[in-house]
Symmetry: C2
Subunit: 256 residues, 2 copies
């Protein structure tokens, strides 16, 4: 899949692309300023469900990224939209920090929804979710990522817990964040553009690049964050471009 | 696979067959007495790794089952044997109650071994195991069961956590308990009998019956414990016999 010569929108993953942990990726702040000055529409796509959107934006601003809350698409936002569209009442297994933006669990839930509860994934909370699913409630997960990079090393992402519940219950989870086609199509619809007019920049070969390219958005893989050398030679997903980092991605998009 | 007309040994799963939680299955105590009186060799096969063997036997004795410790095969025993045979030093992620019978984790581990840590499966303990596996240590698990039945409902078993680590790390775990062929063959070797001379009685279609029958031991599925009606019509595993409970299994074996 070729990169569009003049994209109308650039979709940008956050963790591993603009920053790793609390540190901006070198060159990313000024590169984003250049991209913003170009007038191309920008959207930030994150599967993070440990922190509310306002906190995510505040953290990015402190690193020097001038990002607006309205430009950020989080996977929990996609979950809320999914529940609304299907008339479902949630039992949330999520990080307590995002409960204020989601609301409480229903007294009589009709769906189990997993976010990245992180340290709140306990045997007890997982077993409660398991029992609801065994009673017939559908299982919904904001994401199924395998791991991500923190300053002290690769860290288990929520996908481990989603697939564990799937295995024990025999029920397949509906994923509403990346790489779900609905998630990417929702962003395109909001921007009012076609898939071929957008580019996705990410560090996750499967969820960022594979997900975007499955709906026709060209993907640029960066060699930062969770990138691993074997990602360059994966038969399942071949990115439109592979670049060293976000700065190189912006250079490739603007200086052609 | 037909039942042997005169089996030399009967292998018996514990939870869900002889007892559910702290209660003996109705009729199981007297049925086991009849089976013991018949002179057929008996072995108790359990994947439980939440409790040491002495505690398992003590609990069964309090319910009225006259079982000897030497007749019980636990999955952690198979793990210790596997580590010895392969010269590996373990990082244990197990229930603290069984640490005394396993010994402590190695300072410089060369393998990660999971037992059913139950409430000690925390994000922290799983992430530590994940990081060892990502550094190249093999992943070993005593079992990969999906769930089991407790008095208050179906409960998540350790398989959920094993498969979660497999998913996030991309590494496949070696299973040393049921349904591993080595586990069943180890029991046959200790008894000095052939597979066709033994019968396995269990409530888990995949791990008890499927595992036993894969090495040539006829399996009798009981309709107690984690048994579910759809188990009677599973295309992957067809038990040699399906009976209501342990008492009916003993009747079928002795009164033919």
């Amino acid at each position: 899949m070729p990169l569009p010569p003049h994209p109308k929108a650039v979709l940008i993953d956050l963790a591993g692309v603009l920053h790793v942990g609390d540190e901006a990726v070198p060159g990313a702040v000024s590169a984003l300023q250049r991209l913003q000055a170009s007038g191309i529409a920008l959207r930030y796509l994150t599967n993070t469900s440990r922190t509310p959107r306002a906190t995510i934006v505040g953290k990015l601003r402190r690193m020097g990224f001038a990002i607006e809350e309205s430009e950020v698409f989080t996977a929990p936002m996609a979950a809320v939209e999914y529940l609304r569209a299907h008339g479902l009442a949630p039992h949330w297994l999520v990080h307590p920090d995002i409960v204020p933006e989601l609301g409480p669990s229903a007294m009589q839930p009709t769906a189990v929804v997993l976010g990245d509860a992180a340290h709140f994934f306990t045997f007890e909370s997982l077993n409660t979710a398991f029992r609801f699913v065994m009673r017939g409630l559908p299982l919904i997960a904001v994401a199924k990522n395998r791991y991500f990079k923190e300053p002290d090393g690769l860290t288990l992402d929520m996908g481990a817990f989603v697939i564990g519940l799937e295995f024990s219950s025999g029920v397949t989870a509906t994923i509403v964040g990346k790489p779900a086609p609905d998630y990417f199509n929702g962003v395109l619809a909001q921007l009012g553009i076609a898939a071929g007019e957008a580019v996705m920049i990410g560090d996750d070969l499967t969820d960022d690049i594979g997900g975007a390219q499955a709906v026709g958005i060209a993907g640029m893989l960066v060699r930062t964050g969770k990138f691993r050398p074997q990602d360059e030679h994966d038969e399942r997903v071949q990115p439109a471009a592979i670049v060293d980092d976000f700065e190189a991605a912006v250079r490739a998009l603007l200086d052609d």
